[in-house]
Structure formats: C-alpha cells, structure tokens
Amino acid sequence: MSDIEERVKKIVVEHLGVEEAKIQSDSKFIDDLGADSLDTVELVMAFEEEFGCEIPDDAAEKIVTLKDAVTYLTANAN
C-alpha cells in the first residue's frame, strides 16, 4: 500500500468510523461505507488539510471511492 493510500484510509476510518478491513479500494463512500453527502464534503476538506492542496468542487465531486481519492492526491498533493 502506498503512503498516500495509507493516509487516505486513515482519514476515512477516523471520519466515517468504519473498520479498516471493510474498506476496499473501490468501496464507495456513500453506497458502501455509510457516508452522507456532507461526510463526503468533510472527507475532501480533511484530504486538503492532510495533503496541503486545494481540491476544486468539480474534482471533489468525482472523488467517490478510496481509489479516486488516492489517484487524485497522487497527482496533485504537495
């Protein structure tokens, strides 16, 4: 697991209160991990803080799984 993936997973676990073992790379935050729409906003804010980057709204809307977040942050994190 990449460093970025590990950090993203940690944020998801902390924020959504789900067990790490239940998170697959293609688990959807809303459909599979019980997030509501505001949780996804909060997750994106937490990613921004952890990785020191700004995720614009149109990109944020496309981050629906762990994999999406890791892909985006790998390309854009500072």
Binding site: L38, V41, E42, M45
Partner: protein, 236 residues
Amino acid sequence: MFKDRKLLVTGGTGSIGNSVCNYFNNNGCKEIYSTTTDMNKINSNQDFIKFKELNFNNIENSNLEELFDFDIDYLVLNAGLNRDNIFLRMSSDDWNSVINVNLNSSFHILKHFTKKMVKKKFGRVIFISSVVAYTGNRGQVNYTASKAAISGMVKSLALELSTRNITVNSVAPGFIRSNMTDKLNDDQKNAILEKIPMKKLGDSSDIAKAVGFLCSENANYITGQTLHVNGGLALI
C-alpha cells in the same frame, strides 16, 4: 450567554446591524466581526467590532478566504440595499444591485462559512428578511423578490445542514425606527402607525433580541423558521 462564541454580522453600520452587535457584546460575545462598504461609516462607539471592508455588489471579485481567515459560530446576514421605484420605471441596475446585495452575496458568504460550520459541527445562521417579503409592497418589486427568495433558502439550507447541528432561520422585521423612518413627515408616520396593531414602530433592539434568541440555547431545536417581529402588522 454568548461567551467564547464568534459572531459575524454583515452590514454592521446600519441600525439593525449595529443593534445586533451591541446586543451580543452586552451578552458576553467578545469576538464580533462585521462588514461595511465604507469604513468611514463606522461610528466611534463601534470600536469593539472588527470591521472588514466588503462591497456586496461586487463580492465575486473579493477574496473571502483571505478576508475571513477565521471561523464563526453565528452568522447574521443583515446587509441590505433598497432601490425603490415602480416596476415600470425600475432599471436593470436597480434590479441587479438589489438582488446582488440582498441575495447573491449570501450565497458566497454562506459557501465560505458553512463549510467551516460543518467541520466544527455547530452553527447558527440568521437571515434578516422583511415583512414585505410576505405582503408585497408597491415600489419594491426588486427588494421583495430578494427577501422572499431568502425564505426558500432558509428552508432548504436548514434541511441540508441540520445533521451537523447547524440551524438556519430568519427574522422578518416590520417597520423599525431608523434613519429612514425619521425622515418621514407626520402624515406618513401616522399612516404607517394606523396599520400597526401595537400603534408604535419597532426598535432595532427588538430585532437584535429576536436574533439573539435564535442564536441562544433556547432555540437549539428551531430551524428553517421565520420569526416575524412586526407589532402585529402582518400575521403570517
């Protein structure tokens, strides 16, 4: 009552904005921010308020992240503008500037601050509406449209944010004693008083107290509502 809480009131140099700031200051709120379009309008007795210069007619060109690099607990959207004229004489500029200041600016301010409120899982948002949003008023098609739009915003936003302990309400003042009503002549004043069951104009402090109530713990379970403060002028 508001100890350790932070307040932002837009349009703090107007009579209602100033009263809200005073009320919160007198009730323990020690961090009070406001906005004004003109820093020269600030009175000497407003030195407890941290003012930011902001033109709501042109808010899209302002860097809100930089201007408001802090979070708040209470947001009072009070800044307002009226450009009255009968509809057939109302210019596009009269229409656009009133919609920009009274409605569109709220979108931008709210985008900025509700994000922070979601994060801290607490927030009290109060819009200042107006009785004329509910009754209509000749010469105020633009103003009433902007204020009536707020009532839809309050309800939808209340629904969206309720799971994060953020309540969204509005206060709708009737006729309030202000610089504007001071300029009316006796006949005009009497005509207004005739319509008000309490036979007196409201005071801006009456509005401040209603705002204070909606921000207080007494109103924790109230959201998506409009509190009408109008001496019985319109019973809605």
